[in-house]
């Protein structure tokens, strides 16, 4: 069986995308080059095809209670048309996936999940919709939706030219369920995975038309962006990636995502384990570090202190806008201190690095 293609495949070919196998999908890792694309998004705007993401619809009277039980954040505080970053855990506190939750109403939610976890997430959700929740309508609607992300300081100006709502009224982490973008009906949210201002745009048809309309509206101020830059952008902004910062063996507290874990809300899957972890107070922690010696820290490279293994790099890279080699490491919390030093093992050599706070990218608002 061949690779899966999104509805934008012809656009990737047309614009010279370098197509690769991305978790079973034929998607572009780059067009003109990862660094060039990264800078484009930070300085102007970039357009991404993220149609491989999964979408799961949950409808019914108990939808709110069910989702509250399935996730770590408190969905009861968000209002209709608000969006919330969330995490689903296993009973032991390990992570099933991170996702964003779109609330249409207390009876209707759209969950947007990682492409690589869509089937797993859908099965997990269905398995847990028991008893009081058995009547909920839970549908994997991923095949119905294409998704584009338009990100960067010029994103709003560009999108405003071709949509029928005043984007000034669309605040960060809110969405409008029915917006006409270039004449096509879309969900538009002010969300994204780059650390810049921007929008995620979902449509059931005419995705290539919307893609072309955005590129035309933006002209020199927008460019197609591949998945390579999507990763450098999200990493530089310290946004977590499932499979690196979190996974079934790394719980959200260890990953530094405690802000999204509301241990004082009603019961949810993983709550007891996470409470116990918090009580215990020790264990592992995720720290920010910068390289002191020459070398690029990469995911899964070992971290040593005085020759003893103390953890590993979850994500590390050359950060293009900051122009330095930085990373995140999951280490034994005993060794966590600001300016604390350790070694990253790069090709069997110990290259020094230093723990530092606040070194990741934050955009000027």
């Amino acid at each position: 069986m061949g690779l899966k293609r999104t509805k934008l495949y012809d656009m990737h070919v047309k614009y010279g995308g370098k197509l690769i196998d991305f978790g079973g999908w034929e998607l572009p890792v780059q067009y003109e080059g990862i660094l060039k694309e990264h800078h484009m998004v930070r300085q102007k705007a970039g357009l991404f095809d993220v149609s491989h993401m999964g979408e799961i619809e949950i409808k019914g009277q108990k939808a709110e209670d069910f989702i509250q039980f399935m996730v770590t954040n408190d969905v009861k505080v968000i209002k209709d048309h608000q969006v919330q970053y969330n995490i689903m855990c296993y009973p032991d506190g390990g992570v099933v996936d991170d996702l964003i939750v779109y609330r249409y109403s207390p009876d209707y939610y759209l969950l947007v999940v990682n492409a690589s976890n869509t089937d797993k997430d859908f099965d997990w959700i269905k398995q847990n919709a028991l008893n009081a929740f058995a009547d909920l309508s839970i549908e994997n609607v991923s095949d119905q939706y294409s998704q584009l992300a338009l990100q960067g300081p010029m994103a709003q100006e560009i999108l405003q030219k071709i949509c029928n709502i005043d984007l000034n009224d669309l605040k960060y982490f809110w969405f409008e369920p029915s917006v006409s973008v270039a004449g096509v009906d879309c969900i538009v949210s002010r969300t994204g995975y780059t650390g810049e201002d921007g929008f995620e745009i979902y449509m059931k048809e005419q995705a290539p038309l919307v893609w072309e309309a955005i590129l035309k509206a933006g002209g020199e101020d927008v460019a197609p962006i591949g998945l390579g830059a999507r990763d450098t952008l999200r990493f530089e902004a310290k946004l977590p990636l499932y499979g690196q910062e979190i996974d079934k063996d790394i719980n959200p507290l260890e990953a530094g995502l405690g802000y999204f874990v509301k241990l004082n809300k009603e019961d949810f899957i993983g709550k007891d384990a996470l409470l116990a972890h918090k009580e215990a107070g020790d264990g592992r922690v995720t720290v920010q570090f910068e390289m002191v010696g020459k070398g690029i820290p990469r995911s899964h490279y070992h971290v040593e202190k005085n020759g003893v293994n103390i953890g590993w790099v979850t994500t590390g890279a050359f950060a293009p806008t900051l122009n330095k080699n930085i990373g995140l490491a999951l280490i034994d919390s005993k060794f966590n201190e600001n300016e604390g030093e350790f070694d990253i093992i790069i090709r069997d050599k110990k290259i020094p690095a230093r723990i530092r706070q606040g070194i990741f990218y934050k955009r000027n608002k």
Partner: protein, 129 residues
């Protein structure tokens, strides 16, 4: 794809320019294009001895780590230190910007390398895969 005539090439996309009893080693245009943006070069130490086909340097692009192999056997006598501060030079001009210089020990090993014409054909086959 730029493939200068006077150089010899390996199947791992390195080139070598013979200059008396030394050789300048670099990566080809095909290699830099496939690697994408190069962000780090790990140069070899001076005086290390290598056999033809041994890994002697590492090039890192944004997404990947790639080994560089020596086309000939010999001793590394010089490295291009410009690549430490400006790894992107390998993308900008992979033939102007060599990686290292080798004092080779056996010129007959050159017979195992490809000419420009052979390398061009090789790259065309590679792209078909």
């Amino acid at each position: 794809m730029n493939i200068p005539d006077e150089l010899f090439y390996t199947e791992s996309h390195e080139w070598i320019r013979i200059d008396g009893d030394k050789g300048y080693i670099g990566i080809s245009d095909y290699a830099q294009h496939n690697l994408g943006d190069i962000v780090f070069v790990e140069l070899p130490d001076i005086d290390i001895e290598v056999n033809a086909g041994d890994q002697f340097a590492v090039i890192e692009s944004v997404k990947a780590v790639s080994d560089v192999y020596s086309p000939l056997s010999g001793t590394i006598i010089e490295v291009n230190e410009n690549l430490e501060g400006s790894p992107e030079l390998l993308n900008e001009d992979p033939y102007e910007n060599y990686i290292a210089v080798i004092a080779f020990t056996d010129i007959s090993e050159k017979e195992k390398l490809m000419s420009a014409e052979q390398y061009e054909a090789f790259c065309i086959e590679e792209d078909k895969k």
